[in-house]
Symmetry: C2
Subunit: 175 residues, 2 copies
């Protein structure tokens, strides 16, 4: 397990100055494109939620769709898409949230989650937690039975977890 | 099998006038959010490629990431992301293609596919085939051993398949 975590962590590519100067971007494509690492990461993420009765996995567009989809499949849950504005065709709830400069928005179909659902929210990366907090708030407004949140990667020094205190948060790879 | 196809087809939601007037949008979120239908669709898509030695599944951003990721996981392949411009952080190849008005672009990481790869390109929907044709051309430039293409849905009356004559094309649900 510890060896697996080290191998997975080493497979993440650091890309300096992306998307802008001073940021070291954690590129997960080098992990996803390796068949063994993809399987290991998916299985380790799945393991923590087996037997918890998860009924819906919600993925944040768009990198959260890859492992989020696999999690839903593995857990025998449905998969729900949290998308950028204007992408979902039916009736949506939406939430606006603060970026460093300006605001952004996430949308979810109104019929996607109901009061009996045990929800797992997934994204690839927890950084400052802005989008994850907005996503969790949006889901909570739909009154699911419970909500857990998980990430492939957590950038611990950014303390994004503090903004998700109202939910149980797990991450596989910590930097 | 035929019953399963009918059930899956019936679960696709028709949204009139989205994204613009006159278009009836095929909304797959109603299928994905149902645990049984998600599993059935993923298993039927997987079945056709078992034993074919697929080494990489390539998904087109962003709906192609959901079932594409599950396909990669099920087939023991790696997963590669074909993304909109400016989203991939490392060195990319890109291709521009024609839309009804103007052009669009897809990018792929240069290190994502090599000459030994047996590639399966996946997207949720084949309509006029513009983005799928561009994606297939981009992948072929990287000289994989072979390329197959599949879709959850094919809108047969738009003849998108004609633009993919150089590859083997499969689709699960035909309208």
């Amino acid at each position: 397990m510890n060896n697996a975590i080290e191998t997975l962590s080493a497979a993440i590519r650091n890309v300096p100055d992306f998307p802008k100067k001073g940021i070291i971007f954690k590129d997960i494509t080098t992990l996803l494109m390796d068949k063994d690492l993809l399987k290991t990461a998916a299985d380790l993420l799945t393991e923590k939620y087996q037997g918890k009765g998860i009924t819906k996995v919600v993925g944040i567009e768009s990198r959260g769709f890859v492992l989020g989809g696999i999690l839903a499949y593995n857990l025998g849950a449905g998969f729900v898409l949290l998308r950028k504005p204007g992408k979902l065709p039916a009736d949506t709830y939406s939430i606006e949230y603060q970026l460093e400069y300006g605001t952004d928005k996430l949308e979810i179909h109104k019929d996607s989650i109901n009061e009996g659902d045990v929800v797992l929210l997934h994204d690839d990366l927890l950084a400052t937690g802005g989008s994850a907090e907005a996503a969790a708030m949006l889901i909570n407004k739909m009154n699911p039975k419970s909500l857990e949140v998980n990430f492939l990667i957590e950038l611990e020094f950014l303390n994004g977890r503090d903004r998700l205190r109202f939910a149980t948060v797990e991450s596989l790879l910590k930097f």
